[in-house]
């Protein structure tokens, strides 16, 4: 069922068994997991079904740290959430992402990769992926042209990504949600305050508002925040009428440890002969899986580096590509530069590869890094004094990086450079920002991947985390958080696949409460 909250009588009380706040990837996945159960699910979405600039303004905020993209451009405030901008890249986290690593401060989840495996399998269908198998072996059997470069795979191996179409949740799952008998979707229902009972151990109700001037309340047995890392932290911090620190923030952790993936073009590989690089290249709409180069766990431990991967793009195309920072300069998420000819050149390049090469540059590829950042408590979301149209404090993002982030990138390319030489396949040329060991600076084109993580991090110790291993807020019995804000570390993989798996795990846990 769908209800437009602008059309309800003012001060309507909405009641259900569980209330999911946010109808993006996490929220919709969870809501549909409860479809056809005996529980009444309230699903709250602050926007409508279509993009609305006025609603998007509610996501404005300042970047006060490392150069970053406009906060209102990188999230979509509508049903389906930021899946409307999503690129579709899917790969599970690695087992090393969950363990405590002595060389990565604040690392170590209270769960392991094994805990998420059943939920990755469930997420696979939601995201229209092809297989639960991410092994190189499987994909090479499936695609005989997928030849891998002859690296020592105890040092460098191929990590496989699969590609969702990408699944736009707002389009694909709208009918399923609206037609469900036990899910009530409220659009234009922005949560502006979460009120606890007097003891603060339980949530009493939510306050929701919209631009029509309406205010309503929601009561449920369990509440789940699923608005993304920036908004989850914002809601907890602004729910401060009873405790000035906000909710779940006794130890000043809410909003801290904001993590992105550092995404930056880093070097070039020049091959000394023709190799079929199909395994590593992406043709949008066609490629089902491709590999990125990854560093082994042993090498990560030996060199004390973070987990990251390297993707390849033909150099003669990469040199003309628009960087992500150039693409999103304004606050409007749809106002991006489109290099339409780029896709045509990629298509022609791919065909040319099959026919044989004529120039050296056709054997050259730009190497692009995606790497986790080390959890940094000073990288954080903060409330601004300025309020939005609904009276909620806006947020500022102080994205901070650490020395190990850049040192890891430099080391990864030194490892690759060495192994490229050992394998006798070519040579690596580092970009300038990686050449000097003591150079701590980041180039202008350093960016994130629209991956917001860590602001309500998971740790069973309330002094080290906001949520426990079940994603429940410490100290509050019926408030949970779904999604990537719970990530303790950020992994090398894009977060969507994992945040859905984690959310489905939470959903499974809550079902046991009712059983």
């Amino acid at each position: 069922m769908h209800i437009d909250a602008r059309e309800l009588d003012n001060n309507t009380l909405i009641e259900g068994d569980i209330c999911i706040i946010g109808a993006g990837a996490a929220g919709i996945s969870m809501a549909l997991d409860w479809d056809k159960t005996n529980q009444k699910v309230i699903l709250l979405e602050g926007g409508g079904f279509e993009y609305d600039a006025k609603l998007q303004e509610l996501y404005e905020g300042k970047n006060i740290g490392q150069k970053y993209l406009p906060l209102s451009a990188i999230r979509l405030h509508k049903f389906g959430g930021t899946t409307g901008l999503w690129g579709g890249f899917c790969s599970p986290f690695d087992d090393i992402d969950f363990v405590e690593r002595k060389w990565v401060e604040h690392s170590g989840w209270p769960i392991s990769l094994k805990d998420l495996v059943p939920f990755y399998n469930q997420a696979m269908d939601i995201l229209d992926l092809h297989s639960t198998d991410y092994s190189l072996d499987y994909w090479q059997k499936r695609e005989p042209s997928y030849e891998n470069l002859p690296f020592n795979n105890h040092i460098i191996h191929e990590k496989i990504w699969q590609f969702s179409p990408p699944t736009r949740f707002g389009k694909k799952y709208k009918d399923d949600v609206v037609n469900s008998r036990n899910i009530e979707l409220y659009t234009y229902a922005n949560v502006t305050n979460i009120a606890a009972i007097e003891s603060m151990k339980e949530i009493d109700k939510l306050e929701i508002k919209n631009h029509a001037g309406k205010k309503h309340f929601v009561k449920a047995k369990y509440y789940i925040l699923a608005c993304g890392a920036i908004q989850n932290a914002r809601i907890l911090l602004t729910s401060n009428k009873q405790n000035i620190k906000g909710l779940g923030n006794e130890n000043d952790l809410v909003g801290r440890y904001f993590m992105e993936h550092v995404e930056v073009k880093s070097s070039e590989i020049w091959l000394n002969s023709d190799y079929d690089m199909s395994l590593y290249l992406l043709r949008k709409g066609t490629t089902k899986a491709r590999a990125e180069l990854a560093i082994s766990n042993e090498a990560q431990e030996k060199y004390k580096i973070l987990n990251g991967t390297v993707s390849l793009r033909p150099l003669d195309i990469a040199r003309h590509a628009v960087t992500i920072n150039e693409n999103w300069k304004d606050g409007n998420p749809y106002l991006k530069k489109e290099d339409k000819s780029l896709m045509e050149r990629i298509k022609k390049k791919y065909l040319k590869m099959k026919e044989g090469r004529i120039d050296n540059i056709q054997r050259a590829f730009q190497l692009h890094t995606r790497i986790e950042q080390a959890p940094n408590p000073n990288s954080r979301i903060l409330l601004d004094n300025k309020k939005d149209a609904l009276g909620m404090n806006l947020v500022n993002l102080n994205w901070q990086l650490s020395d190990i982030d850049k040192d890891s990138i430099r080391t990864i390319y030194n490892i690759i450079g060495q192994q490229v030489g050992v394998s006798d396949i070519g040579r690596i040329k580092l970009m300038e920002f990686l050449r000097e060991k003591d150079d701590k600076s980041w180039p202008e084109f350093t960016s994130g991947g629209f991956h917001h993580m860590g602001t309500t991090r998971m740790n069973n110790d309330p002094k080290k985390g906001v949520v426990d291993s079940t994603c429940k807020l410490h100290g509050i019995d019926n408030l949970f958080v779904a999604g990537s804000s719970c990530f303790t570390t950020s992994g090398a993989s894009n977060p969507t696949f994992t945040l859905i798996a984690l959310s489905l795990r939470l959903s499974n846990y809550l079902k046991s409460k009712f059983n």
């Binding site: 000394n272 490229v420 040579r427 690596i428 040329k429 580092l430």
Partner: protein, 132 residues
């Protein structure tokens, strides 16, 4: 000229013409072989090799002489410069092996962003000195 003598002389001339093609070279030829960058030929054009060579000598200024570089490279591949006879193909093969070994041992250097074997960086330097 008697026929027998003619045959002997002709044969001797023929042999003396053939010998350089089967491996006997001068010291200068050895230096040229040491500077031949087979491993990078499919990647670098001559200008890039010379540029790398110059940049290497800025890093390792104590090696900025033909004699020094050719000695270091010869020693690395275990070839004596005093030999009057040597096989070009074998030397190039030894150089290729040495380059891969450099990478395996971590004897690598970054020159102008290029991650290179120390041997090939020295080869670029030698080449740039020869060309000058």
């Amino acid at each position: 000229m008697k026929r027998r003598k003619f045959i002997y002389i002709s044969t001797a001339v023929t042999i003396s013409l053939m010998v350089p093609q089967t491996g006997c070279s001068s010291k200068n030829s050895l230096i040229n072989i040491l500077a031949s960058l087979e491993s990078l030929s499919n990647i670098y054009n001559i200008d890039l090799k010379l540029e790398i060579g110059k940049k290497y000598m800025e890093i390792a200024s104590d090696e900025s002489a033909i004699e020094t570089l050719s000695n270091v490279i010869s020693k690395r591949i275990d070839v004596s410069k005093d030999n009057k006879r040597f096989d070009e193909a074998k030397i190039k093969n030894k150089i290729h092996t040495a380059i891969i070994e450099d990478f395996e041992r971590g004897e690598i250097i970054t020159v102008d962003g290029w991650i290179l074997s120390l041997t090939e960086a020295r080869q670029c330097a030698l080449l740039s000195l020869i060309q000058n």
